[in-house]
């Protein structure tokens, strides 16, 4: 039998809590620092409005030529050119300008200068134009989605566990969202709709991880009322450690494959997922669990022992026995 974590290993996670919080705080501060230095998050055009035009050239070109051609246009005065793919053939041109007119379009203007400079050696692959008004709508909607998701999870965990578990889970979520946002900013990724979706997915993934550990901690306490909270947390986290690492591992395999082979369109999203999954795994172990100790008293009050999850579990076990009896 191959094992990542030896059975009966008991790691004292609780004692490393302070160190973990320190590391997290430093990482979050670096990320937030970079965010402040850039004057807020780098929003994608779907959130701030503007136009992006993706070009593909038949053969490698000199970006200086492209820059010169683009700069000759008034519409593209404030534009930014990004190269990707590493072959000097793929570029994206961003401009803050957008037009709500149905008869004029920005790409035709670009075409006119590119035709002169590069003739027909290029293709417009994608044009993405977002008006400022709908950009604001997307922004509001994205924020609303994140807030509602956090609230819904808070409510769900409060119902299924005690409030302190909900508190710990949300602390871990904030940790993950802040780390991910910080890293995105640090590595120069834009906040697009995909990235917001990725952040929400991280929220879901992190909570998933946290719940598995919480479930085990709860079980420990219930099986042995005399166990101290610290011991229950250490045991719960240690016993689930191999599962935590395995799941993070398999998920990272696929996300890494997406990041490496998924092409330019999936880069931002898969980067956010990569960071978020590592952070989510880390926070379930080092943040969500020790936070439970921030509250005084037993982890689970005696009378709340018979909660719905427990009854459910007993029912299942009862059914299993019956099945076996047949």
């Amino acid at each position: 039998m191959i094992r990542i974590v030896k059975p009966d290993v008991l790691i004292d996670f609780v004692s490393k809590f302070k160190l973990a919080i320190g590391i997290s705080l430093v990482l979050i501060l670096i990320g937030m620092g970079s965010l402040v230095m850039q004057g807020g998050p780098k929003l994608g055009i779907e959130f701030k409005g503007g136009t992006s035009i993706q070009l593909q050239f038949n053969k490698p070109i000199n970006v200086v030529d492209l820059r010169k051609a683009v700069a000759s246009l008034k519409t593209f005065k404030d534009s930014r050119i990004q190269s990707f793919g590493g072959t000097n053939q793929h570029y994206i041109i961003y401009t803050k300008t957008s037009t709500s007119s149905t008869t004029q379009n920005i790409e035709d203007k670009l075409k006119s200068v590119l035709d002169k400079q590069f003739h027909s050696n290029y293709k417009i692959m994608k044009v993405d134009m977002v008006g400022p008004k709908i950009g604001k709508e997307f922004r509001d909607k994205g924020l609303e989605a994140i807030i509602i998701a956090l609230l819904a999870i808070l409510i769900y965990i409060s119902i299924r566990f005690q409030y302190r578990f909900a508190f710990g889970a949300i602390a871990a979520l904030f940790h993950d969202v802040l780390i991910t946002v910080g890293f995105l900013s640090l590595f120069g990724y834009e906040f697009t709709l995909d990235v917001v979706a990725a952040i929400l997915t991280i929220v879901g993934y992190s909570i998933n991880d946290t719940i598995v550990i919480y479930d085990r901690i709860r079980e420990k306490v219930k099986n042995n009322r005399k166990m101290s909270p610290t011991e229950a947390i250490n045991k719960g986290v240690s016993e689930t450690l191999s599962r935590t690492i395995l799941t993070a591992g398999t998920t990272l395999f696929v996300v890494l494959a997406l990041y490496l082979f998924g092409g330019h369109a999936l880069k931002g999203m898969s980067f956010a997922l990569l960071v978020g999954i590592v952070s989510g795994t880390y926070s379930s172990i080092f943040i969500a669990s020790p936070v439970l100790l921030a509250f005084k008293g037993p982890l689970i009050p005696e009378k709340k022992e018979e909660d719905s999850a427990d009854r459910f579990k007993q029912q299942i076990e009862f059914d299993m026995k019956n099945v076996r009896g047949n």
Binding site: T102, N105, K126, L193, A197, T250, L252, F253, V254, G262
Partner: protein
């Protein structure tokens, strides 16, 4: 075999067969799917625009302008009614800022009579100022209704135009309060489509006022019943654009609403394309009597506030036919005919978002996304076998069934697969094994403390189930919220994630468990390959 296990086995096979059948057309391709036997589903998975190329357009209808048009018409009628009632007015106009109809009377004594007349004739309006000048405002509810109607009408007109444009499987739907989303998969000339869709296409025939002096009018001295409209001419060889002002009567002789048909014809010395239109019987009657009484005068053909041509009326035109000439290219004439046939938009539309994706980019995205998915899942598959041996193989089968269910469900519910959706499938592959990892780890633990194989498997499943349930439900909540708030591509992500999570719970709890049950029952092993 126990009857309990047997029932589960039947359910599992039925589920796999059902979703498998729906996934078949996608695997064999559209053409081969047509040759499948009659009882098989034929629909392949609907690909999002980011994967097949095309245009995604979000339009905003300027409903305020539709309201303004209604108010202008009402204020025009009101003038006539005031005249009929012998009430002298100084000005009746629509304040474009407040959207109020403002009526200033010559004689204060007429005020009560005017108010009575308004009360009797305009029940949809509330009087916001009884004192002079009288101000009327459209009631909130009526205004809302008019706006809603304007959007509905815009949608039906745009749908009509898109249908005639000749794109396969176009979508025109309302989104939110006042947005219209148009999706045209595989469209080649996106900008032509935008022009066609977005054209207000308000056609009006106005009499040219040949008595008015153009220079005076341009200096601001426009006769009260006239307005200045420009004819825009483009030189076909130099491309130079010239604007020629015309003073025309404000009264509209014929409107586009009276047109029943329009088509492209060729004629003239250069055999140029022009658009011929036919009028309904009411329009034909008006047209023939008007042309009969205005021989020798010029009639301006105004489309969206631009004069296309202003031919001289040579004689009475009976039969209700007319034509619009101009320096059209064949495509322009073709598109003009489409917009005239499909009617005008009740208000101008604005482009709020426009995404055009070339077909080659979509192909690249599919290739890369699929490649990433295959690499990712291969790594997971091999790892599971390496780590859990035969049980790992079983988990891999569960994962494969998962993907099959996702693909089948996408085809079954006509959901759209987008690029982030592909990422969602990849992610569920990673997470799909999670449920089994949870169970297997638990079984290992139970074996460690010395339980029999049979007991270890059963407690392992029972203990892990609550955890799996809790963990998946929270992720599902997030996916549903994403679906509610997301736009097209993100929605695709939420859809594949949700289906993936549900499939995940199903395969982990029923499929692998049933296989275990059968194996334990048949072979009664005293060791597990886990």
């Amino acid at each position: 075999m126990k009857s309990y296990t047997l029932i589960k086995l039947v359910i599992i096979i039925a589920v796999i067969a059902l979703f498998g059948a729906y996934a078949v057309p996608t695997f064999v391709g559209k053409d081969a799917a047509k040759r499948l036997p009659g009882y098989m589903p034929k629909d392949t998975i609907n690909l999002g625009l980011d994967l097949k190329g095309g245009m995604h357009l979000v339009l905003g209808v300027e409903t305020d302008k539709a309201i303004f048009a209604v108010l202008s018409r009402v204020s025009g009628n009101l003038k006539k009614q005031l005249i009929n009632a012998k009430i002298a007015y100084d000005k009746v106009y629509v304040d474009s800022k407040t959207n109020d109809i403002v009526i200033s009377l010559v004689d204060r004594k007429d005020k009560d009579r005017a108010l009575d007349l308004i009360g009797a004739n305009l029940p949809n309006y509330q009087i916001v100022s009884e004192d002079l000048p009288i101000k009327l405002r459209l009631k909130e509810k009526i205004a809302e209704k008019l706006k809603k109607e304007a959007i509905d009408q815009a949608i039906s007109v745009i749908r009509n135009r898109v249908d005639q444009f000749g794109v396969a499987e176009p979508t025109v739907i309302r989104s939110g309060e006042n947005h219209i989303v148009v999706e045209l998969p595989g469209i080649k000339d996106a900008n032509r489509a935008v022009r066609l869709i977005g054209r207000t296409a308000r056609l009006e025939l106005h009499l040219v006022d040949d008595k008015a002096n153009i220079d005076d009018a341009l200096n601001g001295n426009v006769p009260p019943d006239d307005e200045v409209i420009y004819e825009i001419k483009r030189d076909p060889t130099t491309g130079e654009v010239s604007k020629i002002p015309f003073v025309v009567k404000k009264d509209v002789v014929i409107t586009g609403a009276m047109i029943t048909n329009a088509s492209v014809r060729f004629g003239g010395t250069m055999n140029q394309p022009y658009v011929a239109f036919e009028l309904n019987s009411q329009g034909a009657k008006i047209f023939s009597s008007f042309t009969a009484s205005h021989i020798g005068k010029r009639l301006a053909i105004v489309l969206d506030n631009t004069i296309y041509s202003a031919p001289v009326i040579q004689g009475a035109i009976t039969g209700g036919r007319g034509q619009i000439t101009g320096n059209f290219s064949i495509t322009e004439a073709h598109d003009l005919a489409i917009v005239l046939r499909s009617g005008s938009l009740p208000a101008p539309v604005k482009v709020l978002q426009k995404v055009t994706i070339g077909p080659s980019l979509g192909k690249i995205s599919i290739e890369k996304g699929t490649k990433a998915m295959i690499f990712g899942s291969l790594a997971v598959i091999l790892f599971m076998i390496f780590y859990y041996k035969l049980s790992g193989v079983l988990a891999d089968f569960a994962m494969a069934i998962n993907v099959l269910i996702i693909l089948g469900a996408l085809a079954m519910f006509h959901a759209t697969l987008t690029l982030p959706g592909l990422a969602g499938i990849a992610l569920t592959i990673g997470m799909a094994v999670d449920a089994n990892v949870l169970i297997y780890e638990r079984i290992r633990e139970e074996l460690m403390i010395g339980r029999s194989v049979y007991d270890a498997v059963n407690t392992g499943y029972a203990r892990a189930f609550v955890t799996i349930f809790d963990a998946n439900i929270t992720t599902l909540i997030v996916a549903i919220i994403l679906y509610q708030f997301g736009s097209g591509p993100v929605k695709g992500f939420a859809v594949t994630m949700s289906i993936g999570l549900l499939a995940n719970m199903f395969t982990a709890v029923t499929f692998t468990k049933t296989v275990f049950e059968i194996v334990l029952d048949k072979f009664k092993p005293n060791k597990l390959s886990i």
